[in-house]
Symmetry: C3
Subunit: 379 residues, 3 copies
């Protein structure tokens, strides 16, 4: 237990290693560090470092968001102009007309939810700020568990509370599982409505990849029944949704709404792979839990943030008002929970890339991809 | 002196006990603790623990608000869905259209003021946020004093500043007095206008009680000349203002405006007592200082926050615009002060409850209670 | 290096002295201190104390703003009703309709910029808050350098980042240089646009002086081609712009827009001197870098904040919308920098005051000052 708000405790700087745990098969360490300087004053990061596997860095202060995953000569993550792990104390989500979230955005994965998600909108007399509050909420409880026998799976759990008198009591117990030495990890998040009233929820797993995977000629892969542009600007990119441009001045961003296909177990995969097909990142998820997929192509210049988002969710990125209208906002009954299971894999050779590609082709089967030119909504 | 902004000092975790003070008659301790985890990161609580009396917990970080009072098998306080002692650094009072205050509300007593109080409203081009800023302002100076002779009265003082260039320089020196072993404590707050110009002020002592005092059949007691519903919704509860329902789904809240009566010394009492009449909480106050009383019945479900508020104030809970119109907003001349003295008692047997009831009946005397069906204002 | 966000480090409380540095000629110390209490919880101040010179106090937490400069029986700075070094974590710049900045304003010099400056305005769907964000942005890197040979010049550098995904990547490397024993210091700030797109910028060096320099009969000195009132209220003060009133109830503030004249090297000077002409403060700046000058006369009562601002800038204090219209908003190309060099001198005898007066007269030469009665814009 690193942090426990119920007891008011936090361990601060803390470290444990496989040596201390008397694990022989793998060399790994887990470390919590309190950061200083600029707007990251007081932010905590928690890092799993697996010598022959991945280095996974997440931030308890920023809703257990994943900052970056490195290993096997590659990484999942990107380079934002925001370099610091911004403490939410310095962020006003309502600033910039509801875009304050952008002042801290640099993660490989941000949970966008759960009270609401999507683009900001003023409705019901309030601002629904960009992508909700969970990603800027310090975790109330953080615990690390290492299995005491091979393969010594590591589990990091964090409790993220969106509890406001009269408004919501949505609590998410996030869990990351990682087996030292492996090239993948998984998330097992359980969102529970602790209130006595039903409550809406939305979630987008905003997962972001830049270099070295993203490059000119990199490809996006996912089985789908349909794809359509998010808005008029994205129309011109519809025909080339399967490939990426290099860093392109004035590109800004094109977003696409995807209806994913899944296998008989409701599992599906989406991936971005580099041009040579020997590096990539894939996300496996369950379409019962996360029925829609957003593809965000932000292939602007390197300094502007050259990045693509692969974003499984309950919703697309439209404002909550549109998502409500189009019936994608889900609801939890009192005491009820929703689970979200995702597996992220850092693909680091041609065989791994080929295997993902094959799996995706298999799910796609003979199903045609409908490329619908008309956006399903207008902001 | 635990905290002194003028010298930039704070003692952090700190404790003193009756033993250390060589007090023999009573066993007590006073402890300051810095909390961690979630949105309470860095919040401080200060606890008086009297072995044969009350345990009083307040938060210097949250404007010297009283979190909870426990003792004699009972408590003053309630269970909010907000469990943490939220550091104001994580609160945006303007969020949710001026309802951001709700993200931290869980106290037994919050000072709602002093620049403004009441429901949020946009006026003069700005948002007057719910219940003002004092309750979310860290105390600039905190000091603890223990009398060196019996009955060893403990005094905790905190300075809460609302100082903004060109806008206000209202400073409140809060003081809590407690005699170890007793079942009551008192507040003696002095609000001073340090500016060279007159300044409006408003204050509501938002005092909140849940289980075990509040229950189905619990009763509200106060001498009054009149009571009226705050709004149309509360009309249906007017006839039963003297009793409480149990936790009731979809009840939400009913609010009543009360014109209290006082004795010849301007002292009055309001109380909530349980059904059996052997548990309760009373507040004694001075109607010259706090001329009006709000009764807040929030007898919704337990998890929603089953609670009643007994709220002596200068104002009702209407937005400042209405309070101005109806002439309840007070003003302090340059250098002038207003004092507020309240005594809270945790009633823990039938005799104590009966005594309060008798005192209230005595103040009421032959005066009839006018139950006015029409709200005095419409938001 | 005291703070380095890249490495997540901060030294916290820290001190070094001329003794430790084996400097014999001068006695000085440099100290960083973490403050506590009220809204300054966690704020850092950094103080250069030169025994026979100036004591310069700045705050890394508040954008390297200069709090106060003391020495030679005088000071540069003023007395705001805001006494604490407010941690930006407790400030909502958007509050009070964009005037939240006033809740922390008490510095001798605040950098007002760089994304925008001036009075607040809602435009482009967002609030441009009063005087921008730099002054409420904790420095990401702070370093102190002391030359290892006479005159042992001290340099304090701080990096202030305004980096927001898709919005801006303006970074300012501030530098303060001080030679122990002297009565002046200089600023050498370099603002760089790290983005791949051009970006607008504005800056006002909001430099503020109160007692003992400001008093009834104190004089404002600057060479100029023209001066005009900022708004209708200031019209009545136009004829007496050269002198100051004593603390005056209901004076509020008068602001004047000045077009400064400079010498052949584009250097100019502005100063405030006391009535006797033996105390003062001057600012030397470069009109190519900072082409306009705002004079802020806030000679209201002492407690209200008796102060004058001498504010060289790229802009006047109008909202960004007006500054854009009137073409005073500057732009930086990708990778480009703008430098700002200012020298502040604490004048402490008649000879120093006379020298400044002579220099200003020399720059003014035969040029007439046009006193234009009509404000150049209307908010």
């Amino acid at each position: 237990m690193l942090t426990n708000a119920e007891e008011g405790l936090d361990k601060g700087n803390w470290q444990i290693s496989s040596d201390q745990l008397k694990v022989k098969d793998h060399v790994f360490s887990i470390e919590q560090k309190v950061l200083h300087g600029g707007k990251q004053e007081g932010s905590k990061i928690l890092t799993i470092h697996s010598k022959d596997g991945l280095t996974i860095t997440l931030s308890p202060t920023r809703g257990m968001n994943l900052l970056r995953i490195e290993g096997f000569g590659s990484r999942m993550g990107w380079d934002s102009p925001v370099k610091e792990v911004v403490n939410p104390a310095f962020i006003n989500l309502e600033s910039r007309n509801g875009l304050g979230w952008l002042e801290g955005f640099n993660e490989m994965m941000v949970r966008c939810g759960y009270e609401w998600t999507g683009h900001p909108v003023t409705a019901d007399g309030q601002i629904y700020t960009l992508h909700g509050k969970a990603g800027n909420t310090p975790a109330s409880r953080v615990e690390v568990e290492v299995a005491d026998s091979a393969p010594y799976e590591i589990r990091i759990r964090g409790l993220v509370k969106e509890s406001t008198f009269k408004k919501a009591d949505l609590q998410t117990l996030t869990e990351l599982r990682y087996v030292p030495g492996s090239n993948s990890f998984s998330l097992h998040d359980v969102l529970t409505n602790h209130a006595d009233y039903p409550h809406d929820y939305q979630i987008i797993y905003h997962s972001n990849f830049g270099t070295p995977i993203l490059e000119e000629g990199a490809r996006f892969l996912a089985p789908m029944s349909s794809i359509s542009p998010f808005n008029d600007y994205a129309k011109s990119g519809l025909k080339t949704w399967q490939t990426y441009q290099g860093p392109t001045k004035d590109f800004d961003e094109m977003v696409f709404n995807i209806q994913p296909l899944a296998d008989e177990n409701h599992q599906t995969l989406a991936a971005v792979v580099n041009k040579a097909g020997d590096k990539g990142a894939s996300i496996q998820f369950d379409t019962r839990q996360l029925p829609v997929l957003t593809l965000w192509k932000n292939t602007d210049t390197i300094k502007q943030g050259y990045v693509t988002g692969i974003e499984p969710g309950t919703s697309y990125a439209y404002p909550v008002t549109i998502e409500r209208e189009q019936k994608r906002v889900k609801q939890l009954q009192p005491g009820a929970s929703a689970q979200f299971d995702l597996t992220y894999t850092l693909l680091h050779d041609s065989a791994q890339v080929a295997a993902v590609e094959q799996k995706i082709a298999q799910i796609q089967g003979d199903n045609k991809v409908a490329e619908n030119e008309t956006p399903i909504a207008k902001e």
